[in-house]
Structure formats: C-alpha cells, structure tokens
C-alpha cells in the first residue's frame, strides 16, 4: 500500500476538482455534527439548570404542609387546615435522629415601604435555622437569633431583589423599613439564590422572626400555627428515613389512628427534582439520537457522491491499475477521500455546533455545556460514517477489471 500522505494528496485534489459537490456533501455532515453537538449541549444545559435549582432550594430537603381537611363532609384542599404548629417543628428537631435542621414557616404577602419606595413581596416568618436548611448564606449583616424569635423582635433579612428595588445603592443594614406600617430594622442581606425550580424569584423575599409574623403581621387562627415546616435530612441517604420519622412523629402528635389519613403532607422536593433531572437526561439522549439520524443521512450523502465519483473516475482507476495500483491502493484512496469529506465536515460541524450552542444558551439563558465528550463523540462518529459509507464505493472500485476500467467511456 502506498503512503497515507500521498493518498491524502490524491484525495484532496480529487475533492478540490469538484469543489461545489464536495462542499454540498460536507454540508450534510456539518449539519449532522452540529445538530448532535447543539442537541447534547441543550440537553446537558437543561439538566445542569435543574441540578442548580435543586441545590438552590437546599439539599436533602423535605417540606411538610398541613393536610386537607373535611368540614361537614366537604373536603378542602391541602394546606387548608391549620394542623401544623411551631411545637411540631420543635418536636421534629428534638426527636427525629435523621434530621439535622428544621425551620417552620409562616408567610404571606405584604407591601413594604422604605423612604419614598415601595415594593410588594413575600414575607416569611421563620427561625434562624432557615439559613442552614436552605443552604443560604448572608452577604451582609447577621442572621436573626433565637432571642429575636422568642421576643418577636421587629428585625428582618432582605433578599437581593428587595434590596435592589428599595435601596438601590444605599447600604440597607441598619435601615428601617415598614411592613404593613410596622417598622422593622434590616439586620442582614441574603445571598442570591436565583430562580426556584418552579421559576419563582427566590430573592424576592423578606425573612422575619416566626413569632413576629404570627403575632404582629398576619395573625393566626390557632396560636403557633405554621404554614410549612422545612426539614433538612442529615445526608442524601437519610432523606427516606427522615421522611418516615417525621411522618410517624406527626401522626403520633396529631393522634391519627392506624387507618386514618394523614392530616399533613410530606413532600420530598429533591426526589421530584431528581426525577425531573433524570427525565431531562433521557430527553438529552433522545435529542442526540434524533440528531444522529441527520448525521446518518449525511453519511448516505457521502456514499452517494463516492459512488458517483467511482463511476465517473472508472478510467482513472483503470490507469492506476495498469501502472501497478493494488486492490488496497485503490480502496484506501476512495476511503481516504470519503474520510476527508466526513472529517472536514465534522470539524466544521464542531465549530458551528459549539458556536450555536453558546449563542442558544445566551438567548435562552441556560448554562452552556459543550462537553468535550460530545465533541469527541461527534467527531469520531463522523469518522466512522466516512469509513463506513466510503468502504462500499471503494470496494466496488477496487474490484473493477483493469481492462474494463480502462475502456470505460
């Protein structure tokens, strides 16, 4: 067999002679490869966004909501009953071994005022452990204390969106804002968490002590009632254990008989999001598979052109055979030609695909992930396509009888 370099030169010239045709054939591969890369990037970008959401709501998190209630035969939806109290939260923290932190919450909307600015936002009454539960830090100031909760102090922690809307460039720490006309002292600013998995702005919030919310802002029908208890399991493996412990404890505390329905709901948000993440992964695979079909079609385009090329160049093949080209000399020549087409298409596809995914991710605001793996995969796949679809035409050319090839018109 003659050297690959010489063969490559022959192939490049043959492709250069039919510039337009080569370019169009390559286009099939370019579209295929860039489609694969973009699809995989969109898929991994989306699942990365979901995992970011998971970590933004806090890891290993369970949410306990009051259950549905039945009043005179009419069932009212979940959360309508005021069955959860701060005592439940304290009991969970004390008695459930798989739980590391608990934060009860009593929330509502309110208009807040600072100076001549005002803003409608979500007010969450909670306890200091909220920061631990939600894996949230402070960018300025301090957290509320247990003392603040006991005394129902009028202090608050602001989310970034609230700070931006009320204070602009002023330092909010130590300033007084009014919630429902009641003055609160700003003691801290929360770290930005971005959007929640449900698409809500998690920074558009104000944290105040639970007791303050219950007694001074919203009022409660039952003393100490909370709208939700957030429970953090010790680690990912303990989530299921924690869920069972919390359920058992609350059933016991609420005196629910063995065959009665729970009057609360435990939601394992992490699990739900993990499932969503898995679904996205399947979606990524599916998108990749669909894109691969276009790569396959591009490959068939190469085969088509190579077959035409073999027929057109039958006499050239005859001449080469007459001067001593062996079977594999001819095969390699056409395989290299097909491979050159597909690899050049592959490289351009990678460039266009990577560029495309960066542009898409900027437009639709999800993290851009062009993984080296997908680039490698697309490139080697295009190489395989070239060899696979180039082989048959090359094989066909190599089996020509020299004299028939020479006489071909």
């Amino acid at each position: 067999m003659i050297s690959i370099l010489s063969t490559l030169r022959i192939a490049l010239r043959a492709l250069w002679v039919n510039k337009m045709r080569s370019a169009l054939t390559m286009l099939g591969i370019i579209i295929g490869v860039s489609a694969v890369i973009i699809m995989l990037a969109v898929g991994t970008g989306l699942s990365k966004k979901i995992s970011e959401s998971i970590s933004s709501i806090g890891s290993n998190l369970l949410m306990v909501f009051p259950g549905s209630s039945t009043q005179g035969g009419v069932r009212i939806g979940g959360g309508s009953q005021s069955t959860l109290t701060k005592d439940d939260a304290d009991a969970i923290e004390k008695e459930c071994s798989a739980v590391s932190a608990v934060a009860p919450e009593y929330h509502g909307g309110a208009q807040i005022i600072y100076g001549n600015q005002n803003w409608a936002t979500n007010i969450q009454g909670t306890t200091p452990s909220i920061l631990e539960v939600k894996d949230c830090g402070l960018t300025a100031g301090r957290n509320m204390t247990d003392q603040d909760v006991r005394n129902a102090n009028k202090v608050c922690l602001l989310g970034k969106t609230v700070v931006d809307n009320l204070f602009g460039s002023i330092d909010p720490i130590g300033q007084i804002i009014r919630i429902k006309k009641i003055p609160f002292k700003v003691i801290g600013v929360l770290e930005s968490k971005g959007q929640s998995p449900g698409g809500q702005d998690q920074d558009d919030t104000i944290l105040i002590p639970l007791t303050t919310a219950q007694k001074k802002i919203f009022g409660t029908t039952i003393p100490g009632m909370v709208r939700m208890i957030m429970v953090k399991a010790r680690n990912a493996d303990d989530i299921a254990v924690a869920e069972r412990q919390v359920t058992d404890l609350l059933r016991q505390r609420h005196r629910i008989g063995p065959n009665k329905e729970d009057d609360f709901t435990v939601m394992n948000l992490t699990q739900i999001l993990k499932m969503a993440e898995q679904t996205t992964n399947y979606l990524t695979l599916l998108l990749g598979a669909i894109a691969s079909v276009s790569l396959l079609v591009g490959g068939i385009g190469i085969m088509n052109i190579m077959l035409v090329s073999v027929t057109e160049r039958t006499r050239e093949i005859g001449i080469r055979m007459a001067v001593g080209a062996k079977t594999w000399d001819i095969r390699i020549q056409f395989i290299i030609e097909a491979l050159t087409l597909s690899m050049m298409g592959g490289i351009m596809g990678i460039i266009i695909g990577s560029g495309g995914s960066v542009i898409l991710s900027t437009i639709f605001e999800y993290p851009s992930v062009v993984s080296p793996l997908s680039v490698f995969l697309a490139f080697s796949f295009s190489g395989v396509v070239g060899i696979f679809f180039g082989f048959y035409p090359a094989y066909k050319a190599s089996l020509l009888n020299p004299i028939d090839a020479l006489r071909f018109e």
């Binding site: 003659i2 050297s3 010489s6 010239r13 002679v17 006499r315 050239e316 005859g318 001449i319 080469r320 055979m321 007459a322 001067v323 001593g324 080209a325 062996k326 079977t327 000399d329 009888n401 020299p402 004299i403 020479l406």
Partner: protein, 236 residues
C-alpha cells in the same frame, strides 16, 4: 528462454447465446529485446492479445508464461506488481490522468512501487527530460499537444525501468509527422536500451518500424515474419 511465451491462448466473450472467439489457440514466443508489431484489422483480436500478455485481462483457456513464470492463477495484486515492474503501457488515447501534471503522471508507477518521494521526483524528471519534455513538467495533461501527451505516456511506461513496453495503437490519435517522431523514439529505445517493444497497430507504415510482424485475423495468427525496419534519421 523466451521472455513471453503463450500456448494455445484463447479468449471467448459471452455475447447472447453463443460465445464470440476473440482469440483462438494463439501460441507465440517473443524474445528479450525484440521489436514486434502485431497487425490485423479491427476485431482481429490483436488488442485482446496485448491485454492478456500485458496482464490486464485473463485468457479463458491456454497458458501464458512471462519470464518463465506462469501468469494464469496469479492474484490481482500479483498481477498488479508484474504490470508495475515488468510492463509499461502506451495507449492510443494516452490514458493520462486529467487535471494532473505531467510530472505526477510519470511518478505514478513509482508511487505504487513505493519509491521515496525525492527519488521519485528525480526519476520522473529524468524520464521527462529524456523524452524532450523539459519545461513541461508542471503542465497538466490537457495543456499538452497529442504528441507531448504520448511522450509523457512513454515516460511513464519507462520510468520504472520496465523491460517490456506495450503500445496499443500509440499513433492512432496523432498526425503523420508526430507519429513518425513517436515511432522513432520507440525504435531508439529498443536499440539503445534493449527494451522489448510490442506494438499493436493496423497501419502498415507504422508496423514497418518494427523488426518482426505477427499478423492476426479473426483471433488467429496467420503470419509471423522478420522484417527489415525502415531506417530514418531521428529528429532528436
């Protein structure tokens, strides 16, 4: 020891129900250094004969020995090596690669003989120079005249130092003056380098350059005679 020896060589083409006999029982011996013209009208089997002894085609029956080696039963690749190293071809239609320079056309047999690049180029340039094509090395074949193209083809046939040159109607596409130039070249080659030349032609005045004429009619040899080649002064 004959260089080329055939025993009852036959070639039959299947056309429709009955076979067409292109060659029938051809037994010929050609010695080293001969200049043989194979003559006959078209369809007489002379080209078929040349293609078979040139290892481009296989006979349907009979035996062929080249340099005492049986050719029947050799693989495609073994035949390719023989064509590469023992035989140079010159065709009526030149059969040069289009859109390819004269130099690269001449390098072709060396390429398939695995001669290193620099040596390949040197040998090809020498061959082109010998045929008076200096300065035309980088012309593409379609930029050359018929005579020049045929000389490139001869350079290609010689570059690998093949002992046999087979020419199938080498002057068929050329005018008389160029034809004579090309024939003179072949005569000189035969005389100076001892290259065995087998020439297929239907023109008597072209065959007249050779030393021996084998006549074919209807696939059979009907005459085989030594002749006195015409002597002309070479224009080179």
């Amino acid at each position: 020891m004959a260089l080329i020896e055939t025993h009852k060589l036959s070639k039959t083409y299947d056309v429709g129900d009955e076979g067409v006999h292109a060659l029938e029982d051809v037994s010929v011996k050609i010695e080293k250094g001969e200049f043989v013209a194979i003559m006959g009208p078209s369809g007489s089997g002379k080209s078929t004969f040349m293609n078979i002894i040139g290892c481009l085609d296989q006979p349907t029956a009979g035996e062929y020995l080249l340099d005492d080696r049986k050719i029947g039963g050799l693989s495609r690749d073994e035949l390719a090596v023989i064509r590469n190293q023992k035989i140079g071809f010159v065709f009526q239609g030149f059969n040069l690669l289009s859109r390819t320079s004269a130099l690269e056309n001449v390098e072709l047999p060396l390429l398939y003989n695995h001669v290193p690049t620099s040596e390949r180029k040197k040998k090809a340039l020498d061959a082109l120079k010998m045929l008076g094509l200096e300065g035309r090395e980088h012309h593409h074949s379609n930029q050359l005249s018929g005579g020049q193209q045929q000389r490139v083809a001869i350079a290609r046939a010689l570059v690998n130092e093949a002992p046999i040159l087979m020419a199938d109607e080498p002057t068929g596409n050329l005018d008389t003056k160029t034809s004579i130039e090309i024939m003179d070249l072949l005569v000189q080659l035969n005389r100076n380098s001892g290259t065995t030349i087998i020439l297929v032609t239907h023109e008597a005045d072209i065959a007249a350059f050779s030393k021996r004429i084998i006549r074919f009619v209807d696939g059979q040899v009907i005459g085989d005679e030594e002749v006195n080649p015409v002597r002309r002064t070479s224009p080179f």
